[in-house]
Symmetry: C2
Subunit: 510 residues, 2 copies
């Protein structure tokens, strides 16, 4: 009799999960390296390498043994009896991912991989030529495949196909629950935006008009990341075209940012944002690495952490009280003529536009709501792909008051759908909502938080996040975590209070 | 009937080999990342990751199917009939590595891994405290294990245990063949060194006494690597404590160098050296990637390439005729007072010492011979580990005329033996010997090579190396390749001619 046969199903399940994650983390590193370090001729071999590893990882994740161990564990009250215990959490979440991974027929998975590759090609071509008709047949195929995929996964009674897809990114989230928060948010945002656009008072844009050398920006944002608590002994900050946060585990977190000589605000925002993701990852417990108890809750909760450091902290008056006086150390005389108001105001300019990735903190959510409404309708069969451009443009006019000039700058601007992905977009706004609600709670428990920020002290907030969110791993699903931490269900109120209290004074509104 | 059962044993063998190498190349990237990029807290998880991947790689490399395919191929005259054909080469070398990988009992492999880890710990401790007795019992265990390992591998008639170990690094090489070249080399080197040390004329050391900012050195050595032909679209140059060349395949070669403010010669030498390794790797054919036809011959041949660019090119008068005038671009006024003789002479100072890694081009080989003689004797049982320090020190006195001050600076200076590795050292000097012999041949075929170097043109040499060495992969074993390329067996003559013709004028010897 070997040691393996003596150990319990739970021990075997956990050992296997840790090994599978250890293996899978290699793919994460290969991906990071490809974006950040790899010389360009390395692409072909790297693609083969990642494809091979992903295939092996999928095989490891769908091994029938896992199903057997899970069934044995699920019958053991000592393991699953106490909700949200370490074992109950691990078993619940491993069951969730195992069922997801085994529910799709192989043909559908393969078809999806091909469609994703061809869909992206068609999307690029359509964007380049501003010709939606090139992408339209592919998007039709994509919607069709996603509907089949949703059928395979299934959804709860009273739900709809979109729910089955969102489950990959935000487990437990439904279209109905999303629209219950999005609808009041939209109305209140729209009225705030109307007031802002109608005001004669506007913050100075001077901060966004000066050119600053890249190497000085690099040193500046690195010092900010260090100050807010990103641990450079357990992570790196590099550069890539599209900033992201990856790595292999809590002690090796790789984030990136980007620099433009004439847009230091973008570098600050990107760095604070990715540092928020990074601090979350670093805050997961090493003892649980490779298991659900050592993994992040969902994309929405992840985004709540990045947005908190980017917006609630990084665009606050208190943050700039600390940061503004340090700028001379990095930029010398060049920033000496900027006033505090130039800098703080410049980080908080609101301006509706038709491009999501350039949107400010307030209008950003409108872009998300539009995408959510449209993908939900397409999934239900209530919107034909052919009618997407008109529906898109009409909503931009209605929600943001902007005319979309063409499809390249309209419904072709995002890569997500071409990658056969729907259900992802709302996690951005859910992140903003969770973030505001968490931050209000933190402020309640640490009343002098802004005074601390003004002194460059961010440790109390970081510790609060570590204890209330990060160290819990996947113990609670997102909506539940929100209630456990803040005592209330998710609501649009905290985000609106946050935006109103900051933007009204800056725009001279009573 | 599936496609697999239709394909031939050779096709299956090659497909499998390519997949196994694709997988194994990931381990190479993980290792590079650990040395160059990884934050320090990442070590524990990374060690687990590499151990897991290495275990999987070993399983893939020793799969019994490989043995079956090889046996089938070896009976097919179409495949193996023509010596050095693509298929014959692949089959011969895959048989070699498969047999090596399957000859060792698992217990011995595991014992070796443990001993390597503990041996290195003891070695570090012994070095720190200058106390050989701490390492002695471990080195005794290591020698014992290596003797068992040699027994498992076996060696040819008339050979000895050392041969079985060298086979890992320099296939086909024996202690007898090494000493046949090393013995005349040592005698002639010793007499040249006697003359050099007795001369009153010495090159100026001024080049080695100036401090140059690291960022300027970085730009300088990068430009040199580019100029000699390292392709930065298919590779990188980074920094690490111990320079090395790794990567995943010919289109993604990762090399490192190091910098000291007051030793630009070290940075130049390291960069040229690693570029030589890198140019070899980049010169392997992508069509053969993952098979022996797309892999380097041996460590000795690899070293012949690094040494060629470091010494035959990088320490030549012709190279400095091009390089010296460019220095002002990088270092401004600081190098303006250096004469050509200061720079060229400073790159060629000969000075016997007791530290191998700081040795110059001429004395370096003496360090290697000492190690080779001692490890050969230990493997044969002709030298007890307890007597190693005395034997070491006596040889340093005899061959190099230096007194070794203590064991830390003596027989404890290198990490190799503590890693359970013997048979490796001679590849350094074999590299120098092959290098000199190849370079003489290249000069015969490109008579104006030095004139080209003086103009900063290195393409003719690189192309010659590509065609004569790199693109052949493992078609020939090292000794055979030497005969195919130069028409003669390996000899000490070309290396001695190279050293004499350069050093005699610099040291005022007739």
């Amino acid at each position: 009799m070997t040691i393996t046969t003596l150990s319990t199903a739970y021990d075997q399940l956990i050992t296997n999960t840790k090994e599978t994650t250890l293996f899978g983390s290699t793919i994460g590193l290969l991906g990071w390296d490809q974006e950040v370090m790899m010389p360009k001729k390395g692409l072909e071999y790297r693609s083969d390498q990642i494809a091979m590893m992903a295939r092996m990882y999928h095989e490891m994740s769908t091994d029938e043994k896992i199903g057997d161990w899970l069934s044995a564990c699920e019958e053991d009250a000592d393991l699953v009896g106490e909700q949200a215990s370490v074992s109950a959490t691990n078993i619940r979440e491993l069951r969730h991912s195992y069922d997801r991974a085994t529910k799709l027929p192989t043909e559908l998975v393969e078809e999806e991989a091909v469609l994703s590759s061809k869909g992206q090609e068609a999307w690029k071509e359509a964007r380049k030529n501003n010709d939606f008709s090139v992408f339209q047949p592919w998007l039709e195929k994509i919607v069709n495949l996603l509907q089949q995929k949703a059928e395979c996964y299934g959804w709860a009674d009273g739900g709809e196909p979109w729910d089955a897809l969102a489950e990959d990114y935000e487990p437990g989230c439904t279209a109905t629950s999303v629209s219950e928060v999005f609808t009041p948010l939209r109305k209140r945002l729209q009225s705030l935006l109307d007031e802002i656009m109608g005001s004669d008072t506007k913050p100075s844009n001077a901060f966004n008009e000066i050119a600053l050398p890249i190497d000085q920006q690099q040193a500046f944002v690195r010092s900010i990341a260090t100050q807010i608590g990103f641990d450079f002994n357990a992570g790196r900050l590099d550069e890539s075209t599209h900033p992201f946060c990856g790595g292999t585990h809590c002690n090796d977190v790789r984030m990136t940012t980007r620099f433009h000589e004439n847009n230091v605000n973008d570098a600050i925002g990107s760095t604070m944002h990715e540092s928020g993701h990074g601090i979350y990852e670093q805050g997961l417990l090493f003892e649980h690495v490779g298991t659900p108890m050592g993994a992040a809750v969902s994309l929405g909760i992840h985004e709540s952490q990045s947005r908190m450091w980017e917006n609630q902290v990084g665009r606050s008056e208190a943050f700039w009280k600390w940061c503004y006086p340090t700028m001379g150390e990095y930029f010398g005389e060049v920033t000496a003529n900027l006033s505090f108001d130039d800098v703080y105001g410049g980080a908080n300019i609101v301006c509706p536009s038709f491009i999501r990735v350039e949107a400010d903190e307030a209008t950003y959510n409108m872009h998300i709501m539009i995408r959510f409404e449209l993908e939900r309708m397409m999934m239900k069969g209530d919107l034909a792909v052919a009618d997407l451009p008109d529906a898109w443009n009409a909503r931009y006019k209605e929600y943001l008051g902007v005319e979309v000039p063409d499809n390249t700058n309209g419904c072709l601007q995002d890569i997500h759908w071409s990658m056969v992905s729907m259900g992802y977009f709302p996690t951005y706004t859910l992140g903003n909502l969770y973030c505001a609600q968490f931050f209000e709670k933190a402020m309640e428990e640490i009343p002098d938080m802004y005074e601390q920020f003004a002194l460059g002290e961010f440790g109390a907030l970081k510790t609060w996040l570590n204890e209330n969110i990060h160290q819990r791993g996947k113990q609670y699903r997102a909506a539940e975590l929100c209630e456990v931490v803040t005592g209330k269900p998710l609501s649009a109120d905290p985000l609106m209070r946050h935006l109103e209290s900051k933007l009204r004074p800056l725009y001279g509104l009573s």
